[in-house]
Each structure stands twice: as C-alpha cells, then as structure tokens.
C-alpha cells in the first residue's frame, strides 16, 4: 500500500473524471481551444473541482505545468493582501511555453468577505492579460455578482452512488482489497457523496485490514468523527457542570479546537436544546457576549466556563 490514495488515484485525464459529465465536457472543449476564460467551479467538497483545475493545467502546459500554476487557498491565507501580493509576484513573469497566460487557482474563494472579493476583482482585472483565474467555492451565491459575471460558471454536484462505487471498486482492484457490497453501501453513506472523504475512509480501513467489511468501515467512520459539542451542553443542561467542563477541556485540548470554533458550535446547538424560547434567546445573548470577549483577547477557558455555568442555570429553568 503505497502513497496517499486521494493523490495516487486522482484522475489525470478528462475522461477519468466521474460524475460531472456536463462541466467536464465544456471545460475540456475550452482547454482544447488553448484559451480559457476565468472560471468559477461551484459545488460541494470532494466532487472534483481541484482535480479538474489540475487536469486543465496539465493539459495546457504539459511538463511545465508547475511553473505556470499557482494554487492558493482563501481560507488559509492571511487576508486578501497576502493573496494579492502572491498573485502579483507570480504574475510578474511571463508564462513559459506557447500559452500566453498563467493560471491561478483560488480554492475556497467563498471564504473571502465581500470586501475582499471586491479587491480580488480588481486584481483579476489588473492581471487579466497574463493570468487566468480558476476560483472554486462551495456556494456560488457567496461570490459577489461582479466576479460571477467575469467568470464562466461550472457547477459540480455530489457524486451519485454508481460513481462512488466505480471509484471504490477500481481502487480495491489495484490495491488487492477484498470488499463486499454492504461495505460499499456503508462507505457511500458515510461519505455523503464526497469522493475525497470516501477514499480517505477506504484507505484508513485498509490500513487495518485488506478485507474491507461493513463493520470495520462503520467503526472507522464513528471513530474519526470530530467530537461533538452537544455532549458538553447536554451535561450542562442536565446540571452536571463538572462533566461538562471536563468534556469541554477534552474537545478544546485533545482535538485542538479553538475557542472561537467551540463558541460557533454552541451558538448553533442552542436551538436544539430542550428549553423555553425566552431562555434560548438569553443564552444566545450570553454566547454573543462570550464570543465578543474572546475576540477582545479574554481567556477562552474562563469565558466558556462562565457560559457553561449559565447553561446549567438554564437547565434548572432559571434565567
């Protein structure tokens, strides 16, 4: 078992991509014309957006693709200025070979604020002579209209069961795995149409045993789910502060989830709590105050514990 399978089995030709026939055909035609517009790939995670971008680049530039390709991830870069700076440096030199432009792939572009997207739009305009942008996003509605209007839009849908199955069986064959139909079902359900997640779960399972059973897959899936904030709130609401506190520390420390992410999850979870509407609003207000204090640099542990204590109160039916 060599390599990371998501890379090893990443399609490298248009014909190998599964499940996105329409988009792939149109992108292939554009690529063959040796001139592509700015493009926006919209769709859920693990449906082939980055893969398609890579195929385009490799088709256009052949062995020189690395020199002509810049990959950025909007949610990892520290702000639009960093992105602009990187784009500037990359776009300054001319492309190698006979294609007159380079390609910039900006992943998770919907992580940018509308203001940052405005700045990005200007950057796209400034370098349109030497660069083409391929943007990817989960929701095209989060991309501002002016950018959408400058891009050709391609939608990606979740992979269907037959497509996922095709991928699984192909890998199983090459890696000499024994896999039963019911294990394929569980894999498909566990990955929810996300092909990358599917392959990752498959490889995780295979790292334990080459015979892939549905039980083994199910164990892997449940073991690898990030721990839930709901448990913490359940303890708090039921009045067990100590347990809630312990679980909270567990989540924050062992899983290294930041205070900000915890508070986001708490805010969403409030709506599922068995308490009166008035108390839900009160708790939301407290949560907002806690989040504010944390952005101001307060100690997230102390602030979150104070918040948990007010959930204990809410559980007692008091405000």
């Amino acid at each position: 078992m060599r390599g990371i399978w998501t890379e090893k089995y990443r399609p490298s030709k248009f014909s190998e991509l599964v499940g996105q026939d329409n988009s792939v055909k149109r992108v292939e035609a554009l690529t063959n014309s040796m001139n592509i517009p700015h493009m926006l790939f919209a769709g859920p995670a693990g449906t082939g957006k980055s893969t398609l971008a890579l195929i385009v680049v490799k088709e256009l530039y052949k062995e020189n693709w690395k020199e002509n390709y810049l990959e950025l991830n909007a949610s990892d870069e520290r702000g639009i200025n960093v992105i602009r700076e990187k784009v500037k440096n990359f776009a300054r030199t001319k492309s190698l070979g006979n294609i007159p432009f380079k390609i910039i792939f900006l992943d998770e572009a919907d992580a940018l604020t509308p203001e940052a997207q405005q700045a990005l739009r200007r950057t796209m305009e400034n370098y349109s002579a030497t660069c083409r942008f391929i943007l990817s996003c989960n929701y095209s509605s989060k991309i501002i209209d002016p950018i959408q209007s400058r891009c050709a839009i391609f939608r990606f849908k979740l992979l269907e069961k037959k497509d996922i199955e095709k991928v699984i069986l192909k890998i199983a064959e090459k890696e000499n795995l024994a896999i039963k139909q019911d294990a394929v079902e569980i894999l498909y359900e566990g990955c929810e149409g996300d092909c990358r997640r599917c392959i990752n779960i498959l490889q995780s399972t295979a790292s334990i045993s080459p015979s892939i059973t549905s039980e083994l897959v199910a164990t892997i899936i449940s073991n690898t789910k990030p721990r839930d904030i709901k448990v913490v709130l359940d303890y708090a609401i039921s009045g067990d502060f100590q347990k809630a506190k312990e679980k909270l520390l567990d989540i924050m420390l062992k899983e290294s989830i930041s205070g900000q992410d915890v508070i986001k999850a708490i805010q969403k979870e409030i709506w599922n709590l068995p308490v009166e509407p008035v108390i839900k609003v009160k708790l939301t207000e407290k949560t907002g105050e806690t989040e504010f204090r944390m952005t101001e640099g307060s100690d997230p542990f102390i602030q979150l514990q104070a918040l948990l204590a007010s959930f204990v109160l809410a559980g007692l039916g008091e405000e």
Partner: protein, 389 residues
C-alpha cells in the same frame, strides 16, 4: 441598558465642561455653507464627541444620518447610501445632519472611501460632522483642509466627579465621597470609562461602604479558598489574597479549578460570571498597562465570589491544584505537530489546511501506519512520534 447610554446627554445644556466646543459648533452651523461644509470633532475617547453631534441635531431639530467607517470602506455602497440622503430633503424633519463617526477607523484596504467622502463634503446641502480620535495621520491631510477642526480636551476630574455623583444619586447608590473622587481622578478624563466603572462596581453589594482593613497575617491559598467559599462575605475579605504569596493570575486558576467543588446552580453561574469579569479586567491591565484595575480583580475574586453563595457552607472540602496550564502545555506540544503535519499534507493533496485539520482523524489513521507516506510527506521524527500517541 448601560449607564453610558442611559445618561447620554441629549441637549447642549446637559453637556458638561465643553462650553467652548458648543460655542464653536453653534458658529459652524450658523456659517454653514459659507466657509466650510464639514466639522471634525477630534479628541480622546469619552470626551463627548458623539454626544455633541447628537445634541447639535437636537438643537436644530434635525434628523441625524449616521455613517460608520465600514460603510465608508466601499465606494459604491457609500454612493448608494449617502447621495440620496444628501440630495433629498428628509421626510420627517426639515433638517439633517450627517454624522461620520470614527473616521480614523477607515482601513487602508479600500482606498475608495476617503475621496468619496471628500466629494460629498463638496456637494452636501447639509452640515457634516466627523468624529475621530486621531486626525493627524497623513492620509487625512486633504480631509483636514476641507473641514473645520475642533479639538476636544480630556474632561476635568471635577466635572467627572459631579456627573458620577449625580448618577449615583439617581441610581440610589450609597457611596463614599472619597471613593468618587478617586474613581474620577483615575478615569483620566474619560467620562465614559468612569461611568462604566461605577456601573460595574454597583453590582457588588456593599462595596461602597467598604473601609480598607488591616492586613491579615500570612496564610495559604487553601485557607483563603475555604473562607471565600464557606463564609459569609465580610469587608476584610477583599484583602485576603494580600497575605497569600502567589501571583493573582495563579489565584484565578485555583478559583477556576475549585468553584464547581463548592458551588452549584445559581451560585456557580454567579461565581463564574465574576471570574469572567475579572478576566476582562486582566485584559484591560495588559492592554492599557493600567495597574489600578488590579483592585477590581481582587475584589471580584474574593468578596465577589464569596457573595455568590446564598448561605454559609459547612463541612470539609479538599481543594485541587489547578491542572489546566499543564494540560494546555502538554496539548500545545501536540497541536504544533498536528498543525505542521496538516500543512504538509494539505500542500501534497491540494486541499486547504483548515479542511485537513477538520479531517485529521482519518488522515492520521492513514499516515500513522505507513512509512512510505511519512517519507513522501517529509515528516520529521517528532511528527511521526506524535502520530503514534
């Protein structure tokens, strides 16, 4: 409602200590359109800039149209919002005042806002009032030329004192005159801060009658915890930590660890609420290097937490040593590795680092038993060790 809002002055007559400024504002309004179309009120926080703007609107019986810095950041948005406001007559009231609050909040990111604002100053048919803490940045040089400038000075402590006394009367606080004087001096001309402090302290029962007590003899943290958690609050408690030979930040950790051992339900919530407020003051000390806030930390932690319980408690409780810092340290060592592994992985398989962090449990399972992959990702010795934990 915060007292700073509750007692915000509505009219010029109610604004204390800014007579000269009021005189100048009245002149600006009288001459509006002849010399300058906009007025910049600048000065330190809590000196009444925004209040003055609203009082101006009140005096002219006009509507106020407020723009904040984030509205200004965007040229198109600004044009959309402001142009109709400048050109049309207000529906309800005859007059209108445009308030651009905290103009120094404009970020460098979007260069559009400032020129657009200048354009509007040129064409406006309504007076514009701009507030700022610091207007001497170079980027404001042309804005300064277009506007009349009015500097607001820090508010004299006597005036702060009279305002604080008035509010305490209205709120029925029994409060010692020396204490008001001290609070007013320490506010350093920031009236808003003084009012905020008063409101915070008012939440603590009995604080204002507190007379500082003699220092206790040396005692240890266990004793102090016992007194705070078990006994009724007494005035000498506020100095209880003076005799504990331990930095206050450690004391916070001791309390954090042991509150749930003694308090439950409402008591627990109150105690943690005070702890979280202590933490806010701690942040303020660091940010402003203003060490007097330590007093509040001390009071909240001792008397405050003691006051959270309904009745005195009996029986023996064994208090635990704080464990959080050690846990954090241990886990940080791990997170460093987790981050660096995800960074390498993310680049290798063309995904975002945040997504890799989210999917780490699966990724870890794949990488940990596979030396080939570890080599491909160029993982370091300690990163591989980390995966085995």
């Amino acid at each position: 409602m915060t007292w700073t809002e509750k007692y915000r002055p509505k009219k010029f007559e109610e604004i204390k200590g800014q007579d000269e400024a009021i005189f100048k504002i009245r002149n600006f309004i009288k001459n509006f359109g002849k010399i300058k179309n906009a007025l910049i009120l600048y000065g330190p926080p809590g000196t009444g800039k925004t209040s003055l703007a609203y009082a101006t609107a009140d005096e002219l019986n006009s509507e106020i149209f407020e723009l904040n810095a984030s509205d200004l950041r965007n040229k198109e948005k600004l044009r959309g919002i402001l142009k109709p406001a400048v050109e049309q007559k207000s529906l309800k009231k005859e007059n209108k005042i445009i308030l651009v609050d905290e103009v120094d909040g404009i970020s460098e990111l979007e260069e559009g806002g400032l020129p657009e604002l200048m354009g509007i100053i040129n064409t406006t048919s309504y007076p514009i009032i701009i507030t700022a803490n610091d207007i001497w940045n170079r980027k404001f040089s042309s804005l300064r030329k277009k506007c009349e400038l009015l500097q607001l000075k820090e508010i004299n402590y006597n005036i702060i004192k009279s305002v604080i006394s008035e509010i305490s009367k209205k709120e029925n606080l029994v409060i010692n005159d020396n204490f008001i004087t001290e609070l007013s001096i320490k506010a350093k001309g920031d009236l808003r801060a003084a009012i905020n402090d008063l409101q915070t302290l008012s939440k603590l029962k009995d604080y204002f009658s507190v007379i500082l007590d003699e220092r206790n003899k040396e005692t240890d943290i266990f004793n102090s915890l016992r007194r705070i958690f078990k006994e009724k609050p007494t005035n000498d408690m506020i100095n209880i930590f003076d005799s504990v030979n331990m930095p206050i930040d450690d004391i916070i950790l001791w309390l954090e660890e042991n509150i749930p051992a003694e308090y439950h339900g409402e008591e627990l919530a109150k105690a943690y609420d005070l702890l979280s407020k202590t933490d806010i003051f701690k942040g303020r000390i660091y940010k402003q290097q203003y060490w007097r806030f330590l007093i509040y930390e001390n009071i909240f932690l001792s008397y405050g937490i003691a006051s959270a319980k309904k009745n005195p408690k009996t029986g023996f409780t064994s208090y635990k040593k704080p464990s959080r810092i050690l846990q954090i340290w241990l886990n940080n060592q791990k997170t460093v590795h987790k981050k660096s592994i995800c960074e390498k992985y993310a680049q290798y398989v063309h995904v975002g680092q945040k997504r890799a962090m989210n999917e780490f449990p699966v990724i870890k399972q794949i990488i940990k038993s596979n030396p080939e992959i570890q080599k491909e990702l160029k993982l370091k010795e300690e990163e591989i060790e980390f995966l085995k934990i």
